[in-house]
Symmetry: C2
Subunit: 153 residues, 2 copies
């Protein structure tokens, strides 16, 4: 990702958060205050020509004695869904984590009703380590669980 990708990425991220089904980000972000929420050791975009299809950010899940485990976040443009963009981004992040000697990839908060994401991560080898009950306030479903998902590398 380059700085000049942000103007296209921000509306996608904003609308994804506003949809209320996947991300527990602050509700009042704008393009400037939202920028720090999509940074990390490794941030990439998926593009087709000049069109942004999605993005992923990855880095250590914790500092210090937890820094050997990576985490990541993903967003895919609605118009690009069902085309395997999330899978490509997920495979990329797993390969990046492996190349950078991480021991595992951990997702801290996968909304259990986001079944497309849950199934995708499971198909890439992730397992649900546990589900925190009622930890996410889904716009459509009310209080639903957040999966902690894990892939050993």
């Amino acid at each position: 990702m380059r700085d000049d990708d942000w103007p296209a990425l921000w509306p996608l991220l904003r609308d994804t958060v506003a949809a209320g089904e996947t991300y527990a980000f602050p509700a009042d972000l704008d393009a400037d205050t939202g920028r720090p929420w999509w940074t990390g050791e490794h941030v990439v975009v998926a593009v087709e020509g000049d069109v942004l299809l999605g993005s992923a950010k990855a880095g250590p899940n914790r500092p210090g004695r937890g820094a050997h485990v990576a985490t990541a976040s993903f967003v895919v443009a609605p118009a690009a869904r069902g085309r395997g963009v999330g899978r490509v981004l997920g495979e990329h992040v797993i390969a990046w984590a492996r190349e950078n000697s991480y021991r595992a990839v951990q997702f801290n908060a996968v909304v259990e009703t986001n079944t497309v994401a849950v199934r995708l991560w499971e198909s890439l080898g992730f397992q649900v380590v546990g589900t925190v009950p009622e930890a996410f306030d889904s716009r459509a479903h009310g209080l639903v669980g957040l999966h902690v998902m894990h892939l050993a590398l």
Copy 2:
């Protein structure tokens, strides 16, 4: 906690992180750079006269659609261990979360070999939702699991 509690709290926190058994905080913090790691919506100290016995910090575990779940961190001075300081701090945080209409308290990373803490939280009603394998690099034990622990309010 008041600002003038920090000079007594910082060495306790620094030594706790350096011991390498409980916290995945950065290893290179000093009194200034460590300060932001012990802030939150609610930060308290346990004292006996002028002596600091421990501290707790608490606040929302996530922003936005996850802000109805609280989280907290605790530290107890080695000289004060076994006297119920952690229990008093834990009970205080649970009461604070309940009074502030949180729906639950979640601990994201309780080191599984920190059995004193695990037993204490279980005795206060917390349950292990899941354990992320080998997610903490314990100085004494090597790679050990991190429990996600949860108490519904």
